[in-house]
C-alpha cells in the first residue's frame, strides 16, 4: 500500500530533476547565444514591439485598477487609526516594489509566453526549426536569443510605465473620491519614495522578462506531436512562468530587503 505511493513520489522527483536539468541546459545554451554576436536586430525589434508595445493596454488597465483599489482599501484600513496621510506612500511603495512587476509579469506571461510557445511550437512540429538548421542558422541564435534579449530589456520599461499609471490610479481615487488635496497627495507620494523601491521592482521585471521568454521558448522548442503538443506547450509555458515569477519574487525581495 505505501510502496506504490513512494515509488510514485520517487518517479515524480526524478522527473522534476530531469526537467530542471533540461531547462538549465537550454538556458545555458540560450544565454551563450544571447551574449555572442552576431545579433538579429530585426528580430529583437520585432519581439520588443510584441512584448512591450502590444502589452501596454492590458498592463495599463491592470495597473490603473490596481492603483485605484490600493488607495480605496488602504483608506478603509488606515482610517481606523487616522493614518490616512500614509495612503499615497502605501500605494506607491506597493506598486513599485511588488504589484507593478508581479502583475505585469503575470499578464505578460499569459499574453506573450503563450504566444511564443505557440509560435515556436508550431515551427517545431512543421519542421521549420529543422529547416533553419539546414540553412545554417542556429535556432537558438535566431529564435531564442532575440526573445530573451527583448524580454529582459522590455519588461522593466513596461513596469516603469505600469508604476506611473498605477500611481495615477491611486491619485484619482485619492483626490476625487477620498477628498485628498492633490498637491499633498503628490508630495506624499514622492517624499518617502526611495530609489531602492523602484530599482528593486525593475530588477524583478528584468528577471521576470527572462523567465517568461525562457519558458515560452523552452516549451515551444521541445514540443512534439502536432496541434495537441503545441496546445500543451502553451499551457505549460504560462503555468511554469507564473510559478517561477512568484517564486523568484520572494527570493529577490528577500535579497533586497531582508535585514
Amino acid at each position: 500500500m505505501t510502496i506504490p505511493v513512494i515509488t510514485q513520489l520517487g518517479r515524480m522527483v526524478l522527473a522534476l530533476m530531469a526537467t530542471i536539468g533540461a531547462v538549465s541546459a537550454f538556458a545555458g545554451r540560450a544565454v551563450q547565444q544571447t551574449v555572442r554576436p552576431p545579433y538579429f536586430k530585426a528580430q529583437i525589434a520585432r519581439q520588443m514591439l510584441e512584448i512591450g508595445y502590444y502589452s501596454l493596454p492590458v498592463v495599463g488597465l491592470t495597473a490603473i485598477f490596481t492603483g485605484m483599489v490600493l488607495a480605496l482599501q488602504s483608506y478603509t484600513g488606515f482610517a481606523r487609526f487616522s493614518a490616512e496621510s500614509a495612503i499615497p506612500n502605501v500605494v506607491v511603495v506597493s506598486l513599485t516594489r511588488e504589484l507593478g512587476p508581479v502583475l505585469a509579469g503575470l499578464m505578460v506571461a499569459g499574453r506573450v509566453g503563450a504566444a511564443m510557445a505557440a509560435e515556436i511550437g508550431t515551427m517545431r512540429v512543421t519542421e521549420q526549426i529543422d529547416a533553419l538548421k539546414t540553412l545554417s542558422t542556429d535556432p537558438f541564435k535566431y529564435l531564442v536569443a532575440p526573445r530573451l534579449i527583448a524580454g529582459v530589456v522590455t519588461l522593466p520599461m513596461l513596469v516603469l510605465i505600469a508604476d506611473i499609471i498605477g500611481v495615477l490610479g491611486g491619485y484619482l481615487v485619492g483626490v476625487y473620491k477620498l477628498d485628498f488635496n492633490d498637491a499633498t497627495y503628490l508630495r506624499n507620494t514622492i517624499e518617502f519614495l526611495q530609489f531602492q523601491d523602484v530599482f528593486s521592482g525593475l530588477v524583478k521585471a528584468a528577471v521576470f522578462g527572462f523567465l517568461i521568454t525562457l519558458m515560452g521558448c523552452y516549451h515551444g522548442y521541445t514540443s512534439r506531436g502536432g496541434a495537441q503538443g503545441v496546445g500543451l506547450a502553451t499551457t505549460n509555458a504560462v503555468v511554469s512562468a507564473s510559478i517561477l515569477i512568484l517564486t523568484a519574487n520572494y527570493f529577490i525581495t528577500e535579497a533586497f530587503f531582508a535585514r
Binding site: 519542421e127 529543422d130 538548421k133 539546414t134 540553412l135 545554417s136
Partner: protein, 257 residues
C-alpha cells in the same frame, strides 16, 4: 576508386524501444540521384535527418565526401551543412516571412548576402521553378500546396548546394502537379550538377527522378539497383510495393477495431 559523395555504414536509430533504422548501408556517387522508397512510417525521413545531422544516429558511420560527420561540433556541422539543400515533406516554409524572404533566407542570414541582391537571386530562383515575381511579396499561407512545394524547392536550391534531399516532393499533390514537380526536381538537380537523395512512395515519381532505387523495409535497405531493373528484381517485398498490393510478405499493421 573515387570517394562516394555520401557513404553510410551500419547506421542505426531507435526511439525508446522502437528500432526505426537497423543498419543502413548506402553509397551515393557524386552526381547520382538515388530514390529511397518504402511504406509510411518506415523511417525514410529519419534516414535523411540522420544524414543531415538533424538527428544523431545511435551507431554507424556517415561520411560526406569521405569525412566522418557523426558527432561533429556546431561550427563543423555548419560547414558540412553548407553542402546540403533540403526540401521538407511539408515544405517547412517560414510562415512569418514573405515568399522571397524564405527563398533568400540562406543567402542573407548564413552567407551574408545584401538583402537587395538576395531578393534578385530569390526572384531568379522562383523563376527557375516556374513562379513569377508577383508572388514574391505574398506569405506562404496565401499559396496553394503545389506553389508552396515550388517555393520550398526554390529555397532548397537557393544556395546552389552540392547535395539535395527531397522528402516526398509529390505527396499530397494532384497527378499533374506531381509531374510538374518531378520535372522541376530533375531539372534543378541536373542544372546544379548536384547529388540527390529523394524519398517517395510514389513509383511514377521514383522512376522519373532516380538513377537508382533503394527500398527501405523493416529498418534495412532490402534491395538496391538501377531504375530499369526494379520491374524484374525478383524481390517479393519490392514487387508487392511497386504494384501496390495488400497481399504479400509486407503485412500492414492494421489493428482490429
Amino acid at each position: 576508386m573515387t570517394v562516394p559523395k555520401i557513404s553510410l555504414r551500419g547506421v542505426t536509430k531507435s526511439f525508446g524501444p522502437k528500432q526505426v533504422l537497423r543498419g543502413i548501408d548506402l553509397d551515393v556517387a557524386t552526381g547520382e540521384s538515388v530514390v529511397v522508397i518504402g511504406g509510411s512510417g518506415t523511417g525514410k525521413s529519419v534516414l535523411l535527418k540522420c544524414i543531415l545531422g538533424l538527428m544523431e544516429p545511435d551507431a554507424g558511420s556517415i561520411k560526406i565526401d569521405g569525412e566522418e560527420t557523426t558527432r561533429l561540433g556546431d561550427a563543423e556541422r555548419n560547414r558540412v551543412m553548407r553542402k546540403f539543400g533540403m526540401l521538407f515533406q511539408g515544405g517547412a516554409l517560414f510562415d512569418s516571412l514573405r515568399v522571397w524572404q524564405n527563398v533568400a533566407f540562406g543567402p542573407i542570414q548564413s552567407d551574408g548576402m545584401a538583402p537587395a541582391r538576395a531578393r534578385e537571386v530569390a526572384i531568379e530562383k522562383l523563376a527557375n521553378v516556374g513562379l513569377g515575381p508577383d508572388i514574391a511579396e505574398l506569405f506562404p499561407s496565401e499559396l496553394s500546396g503545389g506553389m508552396q512545394k515550388r517555393v520550398a524547392l526554390a529555397r532548397a536550391i537557393a544556395r546552389e548546394p552540392e547535395i539535395i534531399f527531397f522528402d516526398e516532393p509529390t505527396t499530397g499533390l494532384d497527378p499533374i502537379m506531381a509531374d510538374v514537380i518531378n520535372e522541376l526536381v530533375v531539372k534543378c538537380v541536373s542544372a546544379l550538377g548536384a547529388t540527390a537523395v529523394s524519398i517517395t512512395h510514389d513509383m511514377a515519381s521514383a522512376r522519373k527522378i532516380g538513377h537508382r532505387i533503394a527500398m527501405l523495409y523493416d529498418g534495412k535497405l532490402i534491395w538496391q539497383g538501377p531504375v530499369g531493373e526494379i520491374d524484374h528484381c525478383g524481390n517479393p517485398h519490392v514487387e508487392q510495393f511497386i504494384h501496390g498490393r495488400a497481399e504479400g510478405p509486407i503485412q500492414m499493421q492494421v489493428r482490429k477495431l
